[in-house]
């Protein structure tokens, strides 16, 4: 009993981080939550009721979830093979891939989004390429479309899918694959029955990262799709910055928070379950 209550000294090492988060993040969050639940100083669920009874809110929620899911899937499809390549190569090649993944993180999101504006224009290279190889009859604009947004956002977030998967893959004993091979398993079977299940914890972590970042991105949709298309994050920003409607802003912020926390918690517990099995 007393042993369970005694504070683990290692926990003290986390104290600076805990204090930092509590002051910089926790307090404003409480203020935000308070605002969304107080109407004229009186506790009330009215802001939420009116938010959820508005059809436009559901469009915004739908946009947020759809874009986040698509971005996450695209990152997974691109990121998993990349992580696998990164884990299987050695030396200079591995360093090269790692640099190619990490270096772009040093370029700001705004710069990247502007770059994508140029790439996705009607006369941008994507359009030129597609018409050049004959897949498109005439030049098309991907900028200000959902497809353009998903492509641009996936580019920004894909390192956060690759790195957690890579960190799990590189810890898998290569002899497991060799053992499977000598037992008669084809490369295909080995991938689906050994590498993939053992890397699930990394996949789940990557999904949690990318989904929560995609759900809360603000600059990228602003630049790549514009005001016609609203997500919970952009609506929150607009409410505070342009509409001066702090009530709506704090309500959408809380909805967004609940959504991302739900995904992160669900994936964390899934990861723990899968990790426990491996």
């Amino acid at each position: 009993m007393s042993a369970a209550r005694r504070l683990d000294p290692v926990l003290l090492l986390a104290l600076p981080a805990v204090l930092y988060i509590a002051v910089i993040y926790g307090v404003p969050l409480l203020v935000l939550l308070g605002r969304s639940l107080l109407v004229g100083g009186v506790p009330s669920l009215a802001p939420f009721i009116s938010f959820f009874s508005d059809g436009f809110s559901w469009i915004v929620i739908g946009n947020t979830v759809r874009i986040s899911v698509l971005v996450t899937l695209l990152c997974l499809v691109i990121g998993y093979p990349t992580a696998l390549a990164l884990a299987r190569t050695r030396g200079a090649m591995q360093a090269l891939i790692l640099v190619a993944i990490i270096l772009p993180l040093s370029v700001g999101v705004v710069v990247k989004a502007f770059a994508w504006q140029i790439v996705l224009r009607r006369d941008g290279i994507v359009s030129q390429f597609m018409t050049g190889i004959g897949l498109w009859d005439e030049p098309q604009r991907l900028l200000f479309t959902e497809a353009g947004l998903v492509i641009g956002a996936a580019n920004v977030f894909v390192p956060f899918m690759i790195l957690p998967i890579y960190s799990v893959l590189k810890l898998i004993d290569p002899r497991l694959g060799e053992a499977a091979a000598t037992l008669g398993a084809s490369p295909f079977y080995r991938f689906f029955k050994v590498a993939l299940p053992l890397s699930l914890p990394g996949i789940v972590t990557g999904i949690a990262f990318v989904f929560s970042m995609a759900a809360s991105m603000y600059v990228i949709p602003s630049l790549l799709i514009g005001d016609r298309f609203q997500t919970l994050a952009t609506l929150t920003g607009r409410s505070f910055l342009f509409m001066r409607n702090e009530q709506l802003g704090s309500t959408t912020a809380v909805v967004l928070l609940v959504l991302t926390v739900a995904v992160v918690v669900a994936s964390a517990s899934l990861s723990k379950r899968l990790g426990g099995a491996s």
């Binding site: 497991l176 060799e178 053992a179 091979a181 000598t182 037992l183 008669g184 398993a185 029955k193 053992l198």
Partner: protein, 358 residues
């Protein structure tokens, strides 16, 4: 079972990593059902040879044939060669039974055959009670058994074991040696067993391949390896020996006289006079007293009591070693006592020596 070679044949297998020659033209031929140990010091290329036979690594040169088919370029999953790895390499996300079933499922065995086969092999390694357990909840010896069951369950043509017992304590190791021999005999599996423990090799194998620096120095039955070691390395690596370098002074009728620091000795061999040679004698072939033809005298350094026998170490000139095993130590012998030693001419092993001894 030293006959019936040719079920597995490795011919001229060579492998280099950068500048290092790890396998230098290895030839190995073994019969169906045979149990061969690869015995050699660390780094001599045992694992490399095993990986080449399993298809986990391609040789730079040479051929591997199994059951009449050239498999040199065949990928590992099409070879029917199972491996028990040194660290077992069990699948951590699967249970004990699922591990054993893995190879059967991968080969598309009929569903109703899988469960009985898994049960049979778990029974064979006495792990039936652990079928549903997680791999992480097993001791080293238990994991080892599961690894053996997993490798055998697919009914491989050839089983390769890479120092499977090296992580186990001595007692468990000896129990596992006996178990493994019994299981392999029951199943009738052809197996190559890598070890650098000579006792393990001597007790378990039909034949032993002594490896040194990327070559197989000698392939023979345990008795052949012990009594007629083909090279000085085999003489020194397997068992204990007296070693006396010297120079041939006379040679006639298949007999040589060799001048050594301990005296002039006779042996059955063909060498030209003047050749530098190394003489070797197994310790139990030497007796105290001058009853036999080859005679020396040496001061006793140390006597180690070993139960049934006493091991005597003698002071010897440089480059030499004198070692005798005898049932009883003479009563008046102590450190420093000069003892008369002798042995038969027939028990004197002779090897060409690379460098002349003074």
């Amino acid at each position: 079972m030293s006959g019936g070679s040719g079920f597995l044949s490795v011919a001229g297998a060579a492998k280099t990593f950068g500048a290092a020659t790890v396998l230098d033209g290895v030839d190995l031929s073994m019969g169906r059902g045979e149990f061969i140990s690869l015995l050699g010091p660390s780094g001599c290329g045992k694992t490399t040879l095993l990986r080449i036979v399993a298809g986990l690594m391609a040789p730079d040169q040479g051929k591997v044939a199994l059951d009449g088919q050239d498999i040199t370029r065949r990928p590992p999953h099409k070879r029917d060669v199972s491996v028990v790895f040194q660290n077992y390499a069990l699948f951590p996300h699967l249970s004990v039974a699922e591990n054993v079933a893995f190879g059967l499922k991968a080969r598309g065995a009929p569903r109703d055959e899988i469960a009985p086969t898994v049960a049979k092999y778990l029974g064979l390694v006495q792990m039936s009670a652990f079928a549903g357990r997680s791999i992480k909840a097993l001791s080293g010896g238990q994991q080892q058994r599961v690894a053996v069951a997993r490798a055998l369950a697919v009914g491989p043509k050839l089983l390769l074991l890479d120092e499977p017992f090296s992580a186990l304590d001595r007692k468990l190791r000896e129990a596992m040696q006996i178990d493994l021999k019994r299981i392999l005999r029951d199943v009738g599996t052809t197996a190559i067993f890598v070890t650098h423990d000579q006792d393990e090799a001597l007790t378990m194998s039909d034949r032993i391949a002594v490896m040194y620096a990327g070559r197989i120095e000698q392939l023979g039955t345990p008795a052949e390896i012990y009594h007629q070691p083909a090279t000085p390395f085999a003489l020194g690596f397997v068992g204990l020996s007296t070693r006396l370098p010297g120079k041939v002074t006379e040679a006639a009728d298949g007999m040589v006289t060799v001048e050594t620091a301990a005296g002039s000795l006779r042996a059955r061999a063909n060498f030209l006079p003047g050749s530098p040679v190394l003489l070797g004698i197994r310790p139990e072939r030497m007796v105290i007293g001058h009853d036999k033809a080859n005679r020396i005298e040496a001061p006793l350094a140390d006597a180690a009591f070993q139960g049934a026998r006493v091991q005597l170490h003698f002071h010897a000139p440089e480059d030499s070693q004198i070692l005798v095993e005898t049932p009883v130590l003479p009563a008046d012998a102590g450190p420093g006592t000069k003892l008369k030693l002798s042995w038969d001419v027939e028990d004197t092993l002779v090897y060409p020596a690379a460098v002349a001894s003074p």
